[in-house]
């Protein structure tokens, strides 16, 4: 299932400290384009913190987070961009952004990184459809001439809104939410809310989709459905996915590459098969010291 490609995201020496606590410690990994990369680790390992650093919600204490759009050749400009002190550069063949320098809304707007949250954050008092239109705020804002043309009722805005509605409808179709389009998001069942959050993120036309435990709280059937959708959008839409997941079956089934964190430190990285048999990973998940792993493995029959 391996999808090839060059990296879209490069995280290098990422460190995040909260006072004395080192939540992420010198973490480096890459997200390959068109692939699904999973970030796993025990509770409190620092996974959500990594997401918050990538999406600009936290300013990392140290490290570089670079995102590419377009041709892989733009990577050659990385060092120059870093030295220039700018946030990003746009070339005819592609663009490069240093996410640690950008505020959260620009990471979404310019670098096109979309995310979901571990505890679902929907606009619960707005309808499902409205949620998806809010996600298309920036292009619609432009089409409405920063509200001026829109308020005067210019036709250009009307057609842009129609296009936005079509896009919303197509995503609702894919996520099986079309029948609930006019219901308030807060009234949806839990599983549907999770799917809606992913659909909303997809409406921003991302190049990188970061999903924080998308399968948490889903039953096995819902979880399997979600996996299928994720695999499909990864293939169909030119997009890369970075996901945090606790459910090992999900991780092993759909991801191309796995990064394992424990206490903020990367303890393993690679294809699912390599990670599965890594002694350190097993130790971290079973909560024992490295030396005792063989013993424990034997006792649980691995």
């Amino acid at each position: 299932m391996a999808r090839e490609g060059s990296p879209v995201l490069r995280v290098e020496h990422l460190t995040m400290r909260f006072g004395g606590l080192v939540a992420v410690d010198d973490l480096s990994f890459e997200v390959q384009s068109g692939a699904i990369t999973a970030l796993i680790g025990p509770n409190g390992a620092g996974k959500t913190t990594v997401f918050n650093c990538i999406t600009g919600f936290y300013k990392p204490t140290e490290g570089r987070i670079a995102l590419r759009r377009g041709a892989p050749a733009v990577w050659s400009a990385l060092e120059g961009l870093t030295d220039s002190g700018k946030r990003g550069l746009v070339r005819p063949d592609g663009a490069l952004f240093l996410l640690e320098r950008m505020p959260d809304y620009l990471v979404a707007q310019q670098a096109r990184v979309a995310r979901t949250f571990q505890n679902i954050r929907l606009f619960s008092g707005m309808t499902v459809l409205e949620n998806l239109l809010v996600a298309q705020h920036n292009p619609l804002m432009l089409a409405s001439g920063y509200t001026l043309l829109g308020i005067l009722g210019f036709p250009s805005y009307a057609s842009a809104e129609r296009a936005a509605l079509d896009k919303a409808r197509s995503w609702l179709d894919r996520f099986g939410l079309i029948d609930r389009a006019d219901d308030p998001a807060g009234e949806l069942p839990y599983g549907a809310q999770r799917r809606l959050e992913v659909a909303r993120a997809m409406c921003t036309d991302p190049v990188l989709l970061c999903l924080d435990e998308p399968a948490a709280g889903l039953n096995p059937r819902e979880s399997a459905e979600l996996n299928e959708i994720l695999l499909r959008i990864c293939d169909e839409c030119d997009i890369s996915i970075l996901l945090i997941e606790h459910d090992m079956s999900v991780v092993m089934n759909i991801s191309d590459h796995i990064v394992v964190l424990d206490y903020g430190v990367k303890i393993a990285g690679g294809a699912p098969d390599e990670v599965r048999n890594d002694a350190k990973v097993i130790a971290a998940y079973l909560g024992v010291a490295d030396e005792e792993v063989a013993q424990v493995e034997a006792s649980v029959g691995l």
Binding site: F123, S124, I151, I178, G186
Partner: protein, 469 residues
């Protein structure tokens, strides 16, 4: 027969416990009434029981009003008794009954209400003149019509900030004051006309809105509320103390009034009445002012309704729902909040310049915190974010307090010294308490979605966030 017997025996069985419970309920209600009487006695003793009056030698003397106090306590205790003994059980029984589906007339009502209401407010001066005659119309158009419309417009303006964007603004009156003083000063010093200054006052107000917004909008919730409250006071204090510009407490007098396409409303030969061959009457100006504020109010409402369907309006509501989610979708929350603030301030500026033009006199007294509180309670009572709710609340709150001025028959009951307007604030507070108990989220407790695919379904406000700044 069997059924009858059955029901009879059932009734017989049910009879007993009720009978045995009856004195119990009576006693409980009596107890509650006594307690309420005690509390209201303590509360009303200083407020109603004593009164200070100036006697003929200009001395302040204390007088007691025991009968009036007794009447108040009796009303409170009696009301509580009625509620506990009769109303509460009745409400409980009613709540158990299944809810009937909405009748068909409701749909028609909803469809025709807005056109009917707009038609009514347009025809209002004519109706008033037909009903009360030429002499009595002034009061009804000026005190009721214009006064209510000013607050309705302010309510709609603040609704953008509080109801849609979820930013609690306790200093809204500041922008109203900026609008009023902009008009007054520019009109007096530069002789510019109302129609030039109206947009200018709006622009100046929204400029102040942005200026305040920049440092303040990174605060959230209670902090934002406190800072806006302070801003309202600061503007008032500047107006009071910058006497060289604003003439301080004395205020600005003889502010030019708007003219009808250059024709002034006065008794001169070139005045409105003389030009059109009519007998002079102050009513013409009042009617003209009524239509100006009506047009401004409708403009505010229309713009707000449209904005809600535009991306910026949806972003405001999304901001109220969840700011972090907004940021993750690439929405610049600071700018979005600023636009809401500036928009609300602009409408307050329009209303302020109209206010100055109507009164022809403004002073800092007109821009105290109580104005902000009144407008905010109109928004909250109406149901945050609801245009119709705000309109109804403005009519009830402002119309209600104006009506109190008219209730002269109360003097016959409570004696000639009884002044109903003194109880304005009491009733105002009472209305707020009652509505907050009865409908904690305001009169209109549904949100209309801004867009729909198949069917527009109203959303219960229980799901809608109130916003934390």
């Amino acid at each position: 027969m069997a059924v009858l017997a059955n029901s009879a025996s059932e009734g017989g069985r049910a009879e007993k416990p009720i009978l045995s419970r009856e004195p119990n309920r009576f006693a409980a209600a009596l107890r509650e009434a006594a307690f309420t009487g005690l509390v209201s006695f303590g509360l009303f003793l200083p407020l109603i029981g004593f009164e200070t009056v100036t006697n003929i030698r200009d001395e302040l003397i204390l007088r007691t009003r025991w009968p009036l106090l007794a009447a108040f306590v009796f009303i409170a205790a009696g009301g509580r008794f009625f509620y506990s003994f009769a109303l509460a059980p009745w409400l409980a029984r009613r709540a158990q009954k299944p809810v009937k589906p909405a009748a068909a007339w409701r749909g028609h009502f909803k469809k025709w209400f807005v056109p009917f209401a707009i038609g009514f407010v347009i025809a209002y001066p004519v109706i008033v003149i037909l009903v009360t005659g030429w002499g009595g119309a002034l009061k009804w158009i000026d005190n009721f019509g214009i006064q209510i419309l000013i607050y309705m417009m302010l309510g709609w303006g603040l609704n953008i900030v509080v109801g849609l964007a979820g930013l609690l603004d306790l200093g809204y009156v500041a922008f109203y004051a900026v609008g009023a003083y902009s008009y007054a000063l520019l009109a007096k010093n530069f002789g510019l006309s109302f129609w030039v200054l109206l947009p200018l006052a709006g622009i100046l107000s929204s400029f102040w809105g942005i200026l305040l917004g920049f440092p303040v909008l990174r605060l959230r919730g209670d902090y934002l509320a406190i800072v806006t409250l302070a801003f309202g006071e600061i503007i008032r204090l500047i107006i009071i103390n910058w006497t060289a510009l604003t003439n301080g407490y004395a205020g600005i007098i003889s502010i030019p009034r708007p003219s009808f396409f250059g024709i002034p409303f006065n008794a001169n030969d070139n005045g409105f009445a003389a030009r059109f061959g009519l007998e002079f009457s102050p009513l013409y100006r009042v009617i003209f002012l009524y239509y100006i504020i009506l047009a401004l109010g409708l403009l505010t409402c229309f713009v707000t309704v449209r904005l809600r369907r535009l991306p910026v309006g949806r972003a405001w509501e999304a901001l109220r729902e969840d700011q972090i989610a907004c940021r993750s979708l690439g929405i610049n929350t600071t700018n979005t909040k600023l636009t809401a603030f500036a928009m609300g301030a602009m409408f307050a500026g329009f209303a302020g310049s109209f206010f100055a033009a109507r009164e022809a006199f403004i002073s800092p007294e007109s821009f105290t915190f109580i104005e902000s509180a009144t407008v905010l309670s109109i928004v909250v009572l109406g149901g945050m974010g609801s245009q119709i709710g705000v309109a109804i609340a403005a009519i009830v709150m402002i119309g209600g307090t104006e009506i109190l001025r008219q209730l002269n028959f109360l003097k016959e009951i409570f004696g000639a010294t009884f002044d109903p307007t003194q109880y304005r604030m009491l009733l105002f507070g009472l209305a707020l308490v009652l509505i907050m108990i009865w409908r904690p989220r305001g009169l209109i407790a549904t949100r209309e979605p801004s867009v729909f695919l198949k069917k527009r379904k109203a959303i219960s406000v229980d799901l809608v966030q109130e916003g934390r700044g």
